[in-house]
Symmetry: C2
Amino acid sequence: MSGGAIRERDLIRRISEILGGVENDDCALIEAGERYLVATTDMLHRQTDFPEIMNPWQIGWMAVAVNLSDIAAMGAEPAGLLMAVGLPPEDDLYFIDELFSGFRDCAAYYSTRILGGDTDSHQELTVTGTALGWVEKDLVLRRSGARPGDLLCTTGSLGGAGGGLYAWQQGGLDSPLIEKLLEPEPRLAEGRALAKSGAVTAMMDNSDGLALSLSDLSAASRVGFVVYEERLPLAEGLEEMVGRERAVEMAYCAGGDFELVFSVGREKLEAARQACQLTVIGEVVKEGIWMERDGERGRLEAKGYEHMIGI
Amino acid sequence: MSGGAIRERDLIRRISEILGGVENDDCALIEAGERYLVATTDMLHRQTDFPEIMNPWQIGWMAVAVNLSDIAAMGAEPAGLLMAVGLPPEDDLYFIDELFSGFRDCAAYYSTRILGGDTDSHQELTVTGTALGWVEKDLVLRRSGARPGDLLCTTGSLGGAGGGLYAWQQGGLDSPLIEKLLEPEPRLAEGRALAKSGAVTAMMDNSDGLALSLSDLSAASRVGFVVYEERLPLAEGLEEMVGRERAVEMAYCAGGDFELVFSVGREKLEAARQACQLTVIGEVVKEGIWMERDGERGRLEAKGYEHMIGI
């Protein structure tokens, strides 16, 4: 699970220059009167993006979930999805039925639906989802906007999907963390409530791991972050399974969690807490990305899962 | 260049049932106040969708053009595109630069732009484009709406891309038809003008060939068509190159032309002609899809390029 020869974020910068500048948010924003239309796309491949144990229904669920997570990260409401699928010739009708049922069920779980798409045949299963959403212009949340002094927060718990992958690799198929890996639940209600709270200054999802999210938020907001390691809400059972050191590393660097990472004006923390359950994990500072453990600060490297990323 | 084991339109029907019904238009329609947001996606692969002689810039152009053609077919104005790309490890920076320049240049040619996307690595070049557009609710053109007695029309000429493919396969690299194959120009201005004319009752593009378009229009509008073969506007030089019989077959069955095929109220033909250059090629009838030659009617089979098709 690593990026190609050219590191993907470098490639994205090059592509962005060719295209004349592409905003670096979880979704593209398109003017639509008093609202923005938000749109995002993710291409996923059988071998690199879907754990081997995933059943076809879970592959379908996942392909929709990763796109809805980007909609959540903007504070938007989903308006529907398009799913383009390249099906290998060996996939039978059972596989196809389950895959598309997974698309349907994940969309329905979030009160939206599959509007259309495209199918053709391809040697390796390839699924490109596109999610669309709406958000009021004064509520939209972006990667830019974090200010030194703001509090750094996350929804849910961290490292669970990484722990699920580890458990599976170790043969521990009964670990409850495997469900986190295989059936991720993007934070649409939380993202929307946070947008309406007026408390959040910047937001994105952590689908490539917390460290990369902080790196991206840092670049967009031109600020730094300090994370207080003891505050990280590690997924339940993770530390017991892999030890403290590795659990923290998974929280930073493992992909697949689909939580929201965001900054909150210090005076508005209560409003954010009323919007959704959250954990304050650090603060926004002027520069650098730091991790503080036992009162000592070290640099946090921008490592993470560099594969499923938007330009 | 043929479909998979399961014919793709059959597969689409199955998928549509799983998803609880998907409208069978060139784009999905999403409510947006007085307008519709229209959205379409197409997944294209190096080996099956891009002729071998295409250079990377042309691949980029093509991947944008096929999606804009679907926007044109709804009478909509483009609002931007998302491009998801799986890049093979062997593709160098020259390839990447040219590919994305092709995206950019095609979008700019049609006064729109690439808003974002996704990149990752994949064994075979795979490009999934998604195009978005806007159309007023009272102007939108769909596959349904054709009425017996309406005139059947097409923009531009037919069979040119098929002829270009033939010329290339025969080594005739100087044929002007090759450009039609490699750098298709979707009919956005024509689609928009036809929508505003109020003359059109149903429309789609002919990217899979005229015969499949008529089959789809027939199913959506619950009507039939008769095509007068001598009226087909064959691409310039096509008949001289491949003979009358084969030229007509290419007009019916070869993909890649990206013209608009539409029905016009008989009394509104003049309004349609003022909107854009068109050729009346037949009529809407109650049922069946017929081809008339020298006063004799035969059934036109729904053959065509069954690969790049939307659900």
